[in-house]
Assembly symmetry: C2
């Protein structure tokens, strides 16, 4: 095995909460940005599978029975574009960070994975929190700008922020401190 | 001891990275918002001390010798307004989250602390990351909007965001998901 191939194998794709509950845009704040995020996630998943690289499917399982992300609700299911196939690990979590209450860190370390590429929903909550913790735990972390998305949000003082503004400020805060911000094409090119 | 008093005693003040290095605004991006954050932090510290409530001083100790936050550099020192007094624990960290590579969680739990009030620098990096992890670890978390601050930042695509915009979007992302956003006066009033 060449050193290049060995290095590539150490990069895992972490797919965060690509679940049907998020199809109900109004519930989460509306006006979602990046409508093509799922297409890009699908392209990344296809490339990772083709190269037999490690994929981790993170699934939010709310402890609140009223949440559309609770396991008894249909919204808990993965979207079709991001369904796990046999052998791909599913990490079930109940908080934003995929590293809390799970064995994700242990699974990554057991496989010698040093780099993670984070995609999914939503940019400012579970994606950002997981990327921040991944970086702080010592993983080289990338976040894919066009394979994540968020919704409008009303703040503590009643001020409304647009999904696009929240998305971009979230990435600005991750950039150069926690993660490399890349787009889908550049990540795909880095695999070849 | 009354139940009210007992409940108040379970609320810790987490003071994040109020260190001299941050006096060099230009180094961190310039145009800092909330110039009165340190005054508000000092008022909160005074109130916590008066009521003999738990205070934790978090100190960033960069592993990079060139960083002004490295322990060999003057900037590593606490600002005068936030100097620990005897008996107040100091949590030294080398990443953004005060919970990674430290025993902060164990110290909080050992004292039966269930609630944390987070203040300090900077809103979108160490304050946000620590607040997110505190919430995900199960602590009732408040972030004090006028006792935190940040700097302008240039993003991955060269776009510049103002400190005030980053600060407010950071708080919007914490609000109702990770933390209660409060101001200094409301926190002080809640202690009485």
């Amino acid at each position: 095995m060449s050193s290049t191939k060995s290095s590539t194998k150490q990069t895992a794709l972490l797919i965060i909460d690509v679940q049907q509950a998020f199809n109900d845009e109004a519930y989460w704040g509306g006006n979602r940005n990046n409508p093509h995020a799922e297409e890009n996630i699908a392209r990344l998943i296809a490339a990772w599978r083709e190269k037999k690289l490690p994929i981790f499917h993170v699934q939010h399982c709310s402890v609140n029975p009223k949440s559309p992300l609770h396991e008894t609700n249909e919204g808990n299911a993965f979207k079709d574009v991001a369904k796990p196939t046999a052998g791909e690990p599913i990490i079930k979590k109940s908080v934003n960070s995929a590293f809390i209450g799970t064995n994700l860190q242990e699974q990554l370390e057991a496989q010698g994975i040093t780099n993670v590429v984070v995609v999914g929903l939503i940019t400012n909550h579970c994606v950002s929190t997981t990327a921040r913790m991944a970086a702080n735990l010592g993983f080289q972390t990338s976040v894919v700008s066009d394979a994540t998305a968020t919704f409008d949000r009303v703040s503590y003082d009643g001020r409304r922020f647009s999904a696009e503004e929240i998305h971009e400020v979230s990435l600005a805060s991750l950039h150069d401190e926690f993660a490399t911000i890349a787009n889908t094409v550049s990540i795909l090119n880095s695999l070849t």
